[in-house]
Subunit: 245 residues, 2 copies
């Protein structure tokens, strides 16, 4: 059986996230599997690189699937982009080695968050950026981000209820770039708990507003209580940017 | 009475163009005048730099209005951006000289059109770009654009029915830039007839598809018949970019 690897881009605005739920709910996986099913005449099960929340976007989402179809990947590429709605695109599609698995083989993932802190309203970018009027102190944000880098128990940074699974994760880096008030924050880690990126971002914004210092962030980690961390930022400005294998 | 000049940005997707029609139609002018009315307690009449069609956007639309309000322009700026919907923004608002008139004082206007000719679907840009799969010949487009530059009777390039007004206009320049298949075309002129930019663009795209050469474009101008020119391009990729005074 062939193993096919795809890189997918999607605007998450209209979707209840990546992960297929029941048949009648609009998800990116559900949409793709239905079109892949028509294309191959088989019931296709996509393996995705992870869940994304309702409204979260993806620039380079990776998925794979197995098929007996003999269609070449160029034809698949054309077929899919033709049939998919405007807000989902296949960026590349290739034959992969038999062993490739879009979830198990992940080394790390990078999420990007976009903040408009320029004080200038931009109507064309409004659906993909979080506007904050109060001027953020970028240095304070970087100091607090540094506390989160490394291997920690991120229990304070998830809305996950289960106590049975480990909440220890490793953040490899958090990069914060400010271009004339358009702030882009990249968070790279080996894995993320439910809502973890959005709670980390909410906490860093509190730091930018000078309500938290690095010592406070240490205490939040140690408290292992969701209530200690900052609020969750809106999904519309969050992008799954890259998946490293 | 004070004369106030504003630079406005809007996403035209939701609007029936700039120009106010009856009270119940959703136009950019109508939306702005209603909020300016609440702000000043007066009935405000905005003078705009021209009409824009349904679905056309503006990056730097210029308008002015007269008022007896004593509110300072910084407070007006905040009030307006706070009350306006997400898809209309005031970029600047200043006291202008008594004589400034947003329409009569225009020297030229620049429209920008955006074409995705890269063959790569981009979900985040889809509402503001016109996708063309067939590879366009940019040199042919430039050669045909050169024929249109200058002062000509543009009767073939308008859907305007009236025969009583002059259809002579001057195009100062048409710049065509291609960045990896993302084509941006700037058209600058002293004035534009109804749908003129969109018909010029449709004609240039025919040239890019090698269906027209410069001689054909000359003949289209001379024919003075709408049917001779190319089709009208979609509004969603057209921006009023600048107004020069």
């Amino acid at each position: 059986m062939r193993n096919i690897k795809m890189i997918i881009q999607y605007d998450g605005t209209r979707y209840k996230g990546w992960q297929k739920q029941t048949e009648d709910i609009n998800t990116v996986q559900g949409k793709l599997e239905s079109i892949l099913g028509n294309m191959t005449g088989e019931e296709i099960q996509l393996v995705g690189c992870g869940r994304t929340d309702t409204g979260v976007h993806a620039i380079n989402y990776t998925a794979n699937f197995h098929t007996n179809s003999t269609m070449n990947t160029d034809d698949m590429h054309k077929y899919l982009n033709d049939k998919l709605p405007d807000d989902i695109a296949v960026k590349s599609i290739k034959n992969a080695s038999e062993r490739f698995h879009a979830r198990y083989n992940i080394l790390s993932k990078t999420y990007m968050y976009r903040i408009n802190n320029s004080g200038i309203k931009n109507v064309f970018d409004r659906k993909y950026i979080h506007s904050i009027d109060e001027k953020l102190n970028i240095e304070k944000m970087r100091e607090c981000a540094a506390v989160l880098v490394g291997t920690h128990d991120f229990q304070s940074f998830t809305t996950l209820k289960s106590k049975t699974k480990s909440t220890v994760r490793t953040i490899n880096f958090i990069n914060i770039e400010d271009n004339d008030g358009i702030i882009e924050i990249d968070v790279n880690g080996n894995g993320f708990l439910w809502n973890m990126v959005r709670i980390i971002l909410g906490t860093l914004i509190e730091a930018g507003k000078e309500k938290l210092n690095p010592e406070d962030v240490k205490n939040i980690l140690e408290a292992k209580k969701r209530a200690e961390a900052g609020p969750m930022v809106p999904a519309k400005a969050l992008f799954l940017k890259d998946v490293e294998y």
